[in-house]
């Protein structure tokens, strides 16, 4: 059994998750401070990939990155690099598809952050970095990790946009999801089933991690109330 699809899936999911962790958190951090109307519009744009069919995302990316399209053609002439039909083409499509998951989780976490905690730190004379690392980040940490794990899980399952922009070339662009489809199409049911089981196992582990995170974050996630009544 050739394990290239597993390796390829993991590296595509890993790299695209890394990208959206940075861009998603940055976008969320930036957007919660914006005035309401701009916030609403940007929020729509950032969330769109979540509701669009992945094939539509793939189509739009091809229109942009294809060899005869603006960005694709420029890269071709400037660097001699083709942006489609390579393993890292799938990083583009996957990153776009999973971006909303990270962005929305991060935004929710920032919005839930109790601003009076930051203000309390300020009146106590604490420095900005101290407040960020000792108060804000611990408060938001579990939400961020949950978003990151969710994005990674979704990245592993990406099929539609990936198959359009990276295609299926065994040993080069094949991922678990494209391999399963290819094997089923060619009546290789036994091997397809093996990949399905591998995929199920990975997804189960990822979801288990999310649940464990949520269980632990429950302790510090419920602090906004003023507490129980004195007995």
């Amino acid at each position: 059994m050739d394990f290239f699809p597993l390796y390829n899936s993991l590296r595509i999911a890993g790299i695209s998750t890394l990208i959206v962790v940075i861009t998603g958190i940055a976008a969320a951090w930036y957007i919660v401070r914006l005035p309401r109307i701009i916030k609403g519009i940007l929020d729509c744009v950032f969330t769109l990939p979540l509701v669009l069919p992945p094939t539509v995302v793939g189509y739009l990316l091809l229109r942009l990155l294809g060899p005869r399209r603006p960005v694709g053609a420029w890269f071709m002439s400037a660097f001699g690099i083709k942006l489609t039909m390579t393993w890292w083409s799938a990083v583009f499509s996957t990153a776009v598809v999973i971006f909303p998951l990270m962005y929305r989780t991060a935004r929710g976490t920032f919005e839930a952050f109790d601003i009076t905690l930051k203000q309390a730190g300020e009146t106590l004379g604490l420095s900005g970095p101290y407040i960020f690392f000792k108060v804000t980040l611990p408060y938001c940490k579990s939400g961020m990790i949950a978003g990151c794990v969710l994005a990674f899980a979704r990245a592993l399952g990406e099929y539609g946009a990936t198959t359009m922009i990276a295609g299926y070339t065994p040993g080069r662009t094949a991922t678990i999801s494209t391999t399963v489809y290819q094997l089923w199409r060619t009546n290789n049911d036994g091997l397809a089933a093996k990949w399905v089981i591998i995929n199920l196992a990975i997804s189960a582990v990822v979801l288990l991690i999310i649940n464990l995170m949520e269980g632990r974050s429950g302790r510090i996630g419920t602090v906004r109330s003023s507490g129980k009544n004195e007995s």
Binding site: E122, T123, L124, K134, R219, I220, N229
Partner: protein, 348 residues
């Protein structure tokens, strides 16, 4: 040695315009929720920035829009007690106090070691607890200990008891008064509860819709509110439009037009008169006597609220009249002339 505040801030549909200057060390800001009292307090602390104006305390200027001065909250050295206490949720009681000492250690401004502070505020039993494991009272005590750790030059209390139920509130109020007794610097308390303010403050600022409607000595403002708004905020239940008859005589238009003698001189600009519900006395002796008429009684556990036929509210401890017979309300009542509050209608 005084606090001088003169600030403005514009919000959509709401404008804050506050100014006061006082050397008092126990200052209260009283107003309904949404009147701008919390923003005022936050501006003094430096966690809210006014659009224009100036704030100075003792010899230092904290904010001056014209001169471009805006001292950071961290350097104003004020202790702020937040409405929700704002304890750091990821730290124990001890760690919360140590976080405040972490900086205080550097500026040599600390009030003692964490062990001493924990001891002083009776937090030993709960020092290893997380904030969400504490009761409201314990959270407040922890928050107070934390802000005192830095030996603040001023303490700001933002609705300190609003998150507690009534039963707990009275005890916590006494506890806070006791803790503040040892503190000889300036304290500002913001509240919508006139009892709290009256109990704790010498100087009072009354606020409504972003403006200061009255300011001055607390006792004076409660006994002689100059406007109808101030009278209402200090809890005066009976207010009537009046017609001036002479220097010491008015006709109360909203109380079936009864004519009343006043101690105070009725000047031309007086438009309203008021009397507090507990200042009306039973009996037909003296002046300003009127008939109770058909009265309606609201029976509360320890007092009666009586609505007299002419519209006046009368409040009495129930033990005085709960004799079992039907004539709970006397036939005649009167208003002592010295209890009549004369005022102007300001706006509303």
């Amino acid at each position: 040695m005084s606090l001088d505040v003169n600030i403005k801030k514009q919000y959509p549909g709401f404008a804050l315009d506050v100014s006061f200057k006082t050397g008092s060390k126990r200052i209260g800001i009283l107003g309904a929720s949404g009147c701008g009292k919390s923003i005022t307090l936050k501006s003094i602390a430096g966690i809210e920035k006014p659009d224009s104006g100036r704030i100075s305390f003792e010899n230092s200027v904290w904010f001056d829009k014209e001169k471009g001065v805006n001292i950071k909250a961290a350097r104003r050295n004020v202790g702020y007690l937040f409405q929700n206490y704002a304890l750091f949720p990821n730290m124990t009681v001890k760690e919360n106090i140590e976080a405040a000492l972490h900086v205080a250690g550097k500026d040599k401004n600390r009030a003692g070691s964490s062990a001493e502070i924990i001891e002083r505020y009776a937090l030993s039993d709960i020092k290893d607890h997380m904030p969400d494991e504490l009761s409201g009272g314990q959270q407040q005590r922890t928050a107070f200990a934390r802000l005192m750790a830095r030996d603040p030059g001023m303490i700001l209390l933002d609705e300190p008891f609003s998150a507690m139920d009534t039963f707990l509130r009275e005890g916590m109020r006494l506890e806070l008064i006791r803790m503040l007794d040892e503190y000889d610097k300036t304290v500002i308390m913001v509240s919508h509860d006139r009892d709290e303010i009256y109990q704790m403050c010498d100087y009072l600022i009354l606020m409504d819709k972003g403006r200061v409607i009255a300011k001055g000595d607390t006792d004076e403002l409660f006994s002689h509110p100059k406007t109808t708004e101030a009278a209402r905020l200090t809890g005066c239940k009976n207010i009537s439009r009046i017609k001036r008859m002479s220097d010491h005589r008015i006709k109360a238009l909203d109380w079936q037009g009864i004519e009343l003698l006043t101690d105070e001189t009725v000047t031309e600009d007086i438009t309203h008169a008021g009397v507090r519900a507990h200042d009306i006395v039973p009996g037909d002796e003296g002046v300003n006597v009127f008939s109770a008429g058909r009265a309606q009684i609201s029976r509360l556990p320890f007092e009666w609220y009586v609505t007299l036929e002419n519209g006046l509210w009368w409040k009495r401890g129930r033990e005085l009249y709960d004799t079992g017979d039907e004539s709970i309300v006397p036939e005649y009542l009167s208003i002592p002339p010295e209890k009549i509050i004369l005022m102007k209608n300001a706006g509303s």
